[in-house]
Symmetry: C2
């Protein structure tokens, strides 16, 4: 198995991307192709010990973070994103990881790899922790405007992902809405509710915002606007609450001395939603494993993203998705 890594994308590229790839080459059971400017990559590797699993694939162009996704689709064939995706397209790699311009990466991946037959819209699937494991939330931002059938497809894709990559037996799929009753929601979710109920899924009905943190379902379906707002809300609130706890402890003379003992725990609580912990977000529905890293990915985040890519390929995620959507097409034919 080979995993293509965009060495030039991300706020701390290429240094942290290369450092993460070096770690992964040691720890993850896959070849790692660093895609970008060879001299820059070699300079970052420097004196680090490199094993035979690490390779360099040349690409001279860089799509900057601020460029429009559309710009990335034309005449940018020598960009690190295009070359990295191209390795998967040419079947020289089985997965691609980029912490660069995420809009550009998603557009290039969807266009060049194509989508799994039957999938209308790829979605960003986020792996979120809850007290006793993981769950999936999708779409976390790929599609700001959705139709009911898109949400139905997100339910199907999320269910396959939860089953084969997270190991759930019959994943419980919930629809994010504003009330548990079937009649509650907006026009979109009310129509999607009917489609999800009719789909071949373990659909448990509506869930609410608070259920993201309760052990009640394994896959949470929403449109990309709502999913992104939820994601940013939980990141912002986690940062604020853990800062308040730290402040409260440090400003209390009776507690100050306990802070060192508590520091590690508090950091663990503060970082639990950090996508880097699990490896990033998956662009689910494209014909290949594509991992969308956070722009501020450090070496550990990149290493985890490569590990996550390896697990998704190993689990034959794309093949299982194709089977499920092919069966669906057959039934409805």
């Amino acid at each position: 198995m080979r995993i293509a890594v965009d060495a030039m994308g991300g706020d701390f590229a290429p240094e942290q991307i290369v450092a993460g790839a070096v770690l992964a080459a040691d720890e993850v059971d896959a070849q790692v192709s660093l895609v970008g400017r060879p001299e820059a990559i070699r300079a970052c590797i420097g004196e680090r010990p490199v094993n035979g699993r690490l390779e360099i694939e040349a690409a001279q162009d860089i799509i900057e973070m601020g460029e429009s996704p559309r710009a990335a689709l034309r005449g940018r064939d020598d960009s690190s994103i295009a070359r990295a995706v191209g390795l998967v397209k040419d079947e020289r790699a089985q997965a691609v990881v980029s912490a660069g311009n995420s809009g550009a990466f998603m557009a290039v991946a969807a266009t060049r790899l194509g989508v799994v037959p039957g999938v209308k819209r790829p979605a960003i699937a986020l792996t979120l922790p809850h007290p006793s494991g993981y769950r999936v939330l999708l779409d976390a931002g790929a599609n700001a405007d959705c139709k009911p059938e898109h949400l139905r497809d997100f339910g199907l894709m999320g269910s396959v992902y939860a089953q084969y990559t997270l190991g759930f037996d019959s994943p419980r799929v919930g629809l994010l809405s504003i009330g548990e009753e079937t009649s509650k929601g907006n026009e979109l979710t009310k129509a999607a509710h009917e489609l999800l109920e009719a789909a071949d899924l373990n659909f448990i009905g509506n869930v609410e915002g608070g259920d993201v943190f309760r052990e009640c379902c394994d896959v949470i379906v929403c449109d990309g606007f709502v999913g992104n707002v939820v994601l940013k809300t939980l990141e912002g609130l986690t940062a604020m609450l853990t800062a308040q706890v730290r402040e409260a402890i440090l400003s209390n003379p009776a507690l100050q001395s306990a802070m060192p003992a508590f520091e590690g725990e508090l950091r663990r609580i503060a970082n639990q939603f950090d996508a880097a912990e699990y490896g990033g977000a998956l662009l689910l529905g494209v014909n290949g494993v594509a991992i969308v890293g956070h722009g501020c990915s450090d070496a550990r985040a990149v290493r985890n993203a490569i590990g996550f890519a390896q697990r998704a390929v190993h689990a034959r995620l794309v093949e299982h998705l194709s089977e499920v959507f092919a069966q669906r097409a057959e039934k409805s034919a």
Copy 2:
């Protein structure tokens, strides 16, 4: 000033509602009319000392929590909700508070009081704390499906509310979206962005989910679906994170002894988003001050809701709203 309180609505009605009204009669500068079954209300008052500010207004019917809002609109004129709203309609009271069936309360208030001329959709305005004060988020759930002009009106209403009730000079209004750039968002927010920009507002552009917890704007505008998901997400996450902090402290022998000293602080952090702290949510845009209490309101929450109603009446909130929308109509005429 007189404030009508639905004594029969809420999970802990009438006991906690009456207890809250008794507190308010002592502490809030207003007459308080408890609306409901007189014998039940008198039984709850029991031996409590009652001053001349507390009155009872008879209503025999009760709209239960599970009933559909539509049911509340027909032939239920003797319900505590209808009678309490009726006091405002008849100008015998200036504000109404209910912790009962919120859908029914909103429907009755909007129908019987009518809306401020020019307002198309009343919205639920939530007062949220942030590290250095308060801000307003609306709509928090009254309108699951919105048009761009509704969001523009929410911006205008939220701005008036923040100016006259929270004391901001020129409230900064932000549009909740998924990226700060004007081009980011869904169809609804992109169209609303243009309308908000053209409105007579201190509009600062798009804000993101994380900005709900940062000191960057005073009024956050969103549709009622997104607003309700954000509200439930922050309630659920706050409960989860503070439980994790408590657990981490109690399971660490070096920290256990510090827990009593920390208990109060942790409770304050856990309860900061509790609507009861500020008094509840305001149904903004109806012709009268209407406070939507949480179903699980206790005496303190009811007392705070009555205090909040008093402040809104005192600030002449509805009159200011009417002026702003009348000026708007004049300009566009």
